[in-house]
Point group: C2
Chain length 456, copies 2
């Protein structure tokens, strides 16, 4: 039986014999009895095993180490101790896999997150990471459920690409050339490479997703993405997951409607389906986390143009580190101020065209584009999107201006039955950081890849 | 409104005005009226738009090309024509995006799949690929739903790896070294590469998934996988998706239970949720497809050892191209025979150790391992799995014998609370080929990557 199932059926199982398989998380032994803190990983809750000296193998049980894998049979009873409803009175414990005392996760002292990053293969056994990676799983599912329930077709964007439509500078190159031979021969012959030309790992599936939007009306990607950014910050990883919905017959306003609705749905789903994990984060990681998230669900997101935001910032009684200027980007301090000003999430729309991507729809003012960033209290920018330029000629003009290759198939989407369409992208780990309160992206990815770090 | 919604609520909408946005798939015009075959991609079904010469813009509507994006308003009425229940009597049609006559998807003649592969960005607009890629989406969701409903934690395996635990020979290398500089300098300095050493793209997330199984009891991966195999066959792609469940306290028998249950669930889910698409495949792609799948759902999978399979093959009244031999692999013709012999799916267990992977559990006979391949009628091998070697010393011995690097963290899973555990892997595209009857893997991946082919 799984511990999750035991808790779900605890009322009817009370007084019955149960059998569980899992691991010893802690162990306190006395002369005539002992307590084992037991977990099988199927739910956040542990259960206490109580054993007494009348058991035939009492001595062996008393010697079991933290980390051992065991099978336990016993009776589910109400607990007399504080902080727990149930415990198991042990009938028998069988050792399935020993765990010597050099096991890095001992109970003495709380290991630091830095230490646990070094032990990444063991850290999901700790409470913090057990909670983080289950929330990661449930959040991923919530995203799929939202989009599938709303008629979106899941699109697997290709990861290998030979196009460099989006910022080739930060791409990883993929090759089967023997680099030693490249070095010794003195030349690079891409006709001998696997795809017959230079290939990279994609930085976004959006452009390809647009081809699906023009066939299914609503589509979304959700998959890994790669950026060769040489940044060692708390929010950068070189391999991360991203979702990118794309919708035909959808303008910027409707795009924001979906962003708002989707985000509220996912946050609510996680609060509803991971109550123990969210309680833990609220208590030990970010005080007020649940209140922050509940407030988001119940708020109406403000919608305001970049121009009006700069106006507010310029009039604010604040001494800025970076002066807010019309036509320019906004800084972290500005994001923070504006969400506090409106006391909730803020969609900032209609950005200066020069600081945004080539594919965003040019507004009638010829100065701004129909782009949007979502700023949320306590996290800043959570995601961004735009209406796409559906006018063939205007798109060609922007590509020329910005030096982007004029990819034929992408332009043809505007030629063959194109229409108003929009989409957005959300970094999955950024969402997880917001949901869990865990600050470092290295702690929400099972095996994070950062510059110089590619273990496991 | 989406066309999907219109069909769901057709009874109550009958006689009302509706508004749809989508594309013209075909257009037949007469002197005083015309028929437009309309689709918006939200469901497999199209709907017929009927317009008459009393409309103010009759002449413009009559000129609309195949492929145009339009907004149509009109009344939902019962159809008098054969083959459809409803049609829309047009009140107005607004052109949203034109489509010139050089549009590659004209109605004259059915384009070949080879031609459509060249037009990969347009092919989801055809009936066949519209059906294939929606089934791909729904199948992916069914897999997530099965595992999440059964308490599995979704694990995102890392794709960059510096380990070469599994067949490094067929890996793509990932680098940020400037290859031109490598060539001109005459040497490869991996300390200057992004991760400070040679890095590749993973061929399997299984080993890392085992770390999650030891923390959550049940976990699964579902993500892209890469193999640099230089094979140009109907079943090989170099970038594909794979799912890999991994379960602690689970032996080979329980592993097979999950494989059988999961597969039946997914097949049933797709039949239930994509009835129109499956009818289409049954009619136009593989006659008898639905019967094949329904039979699978209702069958009990046979379980038989590799040894006994070879016995049956050797006694069979068949002239084999490849002679079945004890201790050796079985060929495609054998797979076919054995599923016909048992008239249903067959689990072949306990394979000769020398033809299987190092991590599979050695049986007491010291000759075979606790591995399983699932063979299904009409497709051969669909997936494979094994109980993993949980004995530290035996695993080290197998690693040495097979020349596999003795990766410390992987071995430590056997040292720190290891236990009996099992898992399996299923190629997602192989499943899709089985589900749709479409034979070529290039036709079930939106943008397939094969040797020399990396477009879009």
């Amino acid at each position: 039986m799984d511990l999750k199932e035991l808790y779900e059926k605890s009322q009817e199982l009370l007084g019955s014999e149960v059998k569980l398989q899992g691991w010893i998380r802690n162990h306190r032994k006395q002369k005539d009895f002992g307590f084992i803190d037991f977990s099988d990983g199927t739910c956040f809750k542990h259960i206490q095993l109580v054993y007494t000296s009348d058991l035939a193998n009492f001595e062996e049980i008393a010697k079991l180490h933290i980390g051992c894998a065991i099978t336990v049979t016993g009776t589910l009873i109400e607990s007399e101790g504080a902080g727990q409803d149930y415990e198991i009175k042990v009938k028998d414990i069988v050792l399935e896999g020993d765990c010597p005392e050099d096991y890095p996760l001992q109970s003495k002292g709380r290991p630091t997150r830095e230490f646990l990053r070094e032990q990444a293969y063991l850290r999901p056994r700790t409470n913090l990471f057990q909670a983080v990676f289950r929330v990661r799983s449930v959040t991923a599912y919530a995203i799929h459920k939202y989009f599938q329930d709303h008629g979106f077709v899941y699109f697997h964007a290709p990861l290998f690409t030979t196009s460099d439509c989006e910022g080739a500078g930060e791409m990883f190159q993929v090759t089967t050339l023997d680099l030693d031979k490249v070095a010794s021969s003195g030349k690079v012959d891409y006709t001998k490479d696997f795809f017959g030309k230079r290939a990279n790992l994609t930085v976004s599936g959006q452009l390809e997703a647009e081809t699906f939007a023009m066939a299914y009306k609503k589509t979304y990607t959700f998959g890994p993405t790669f950026r060769a950014e040489n940044s060692n910050t708390k929010t950068h990883a070189n391999e991360f997951w991203m979702m990118e919905p794309e919708m035909a017959f959808c303008d910027l306003k409707q795009d924001m409607d979906v962003m708002e609705d989707m985000l509220k749905y996912v946050v609510k789903y996680v609060l509803d389906n991971c109550p123990d994990e969210m309680d833990f984060f609220d208590k030990f990681v970010e005080n007020g986390l649940k209140e922050k998230l509940t407030k988001l669900i119940n708020s109406n997101f403000t919608r305001i143009s970049h121009h009006d935001v700069i106006d507010i910032l310029q009039k604010a009684p604040v001494k800025w580190e970076f002066e807010p200027i019309q036509g320019e980007d906004i800084a972290k301090e500005h994001e923070k101020y504006i969400t506090e000003y409106f006391n909730g999430p803020v969609f900032i729309t209609d950005w200066p065209k020069d600081i945004k991507a080539f594919y965003m729809k040019l507004n009638p003012d010829n100065e701004t584009v129909a782009a949007v960033d979502l700023e949320v209290p306590g996290a800043g920018e959570l995601c961004g999107g735009s209406q796409r330029e559906e006018d063939y000629d205007k798109l060609v003009k922007r590509m020329k201006e910005m030096g982007v290759p004029e990819t034929e198939w992408y332009l043809n989407l505007r030629k063959y039955g194109g229409c108003v369409h929009s989409g957005f992208g959300m970094g999955f780990e950024r969402l997880l950081i917001y949901l869990t309160g865990v600050e470092n992206i290295r702690d929400v990815i099972p095996y994070p890849r950062t510059p110089g770090n590619c273990e496991y």
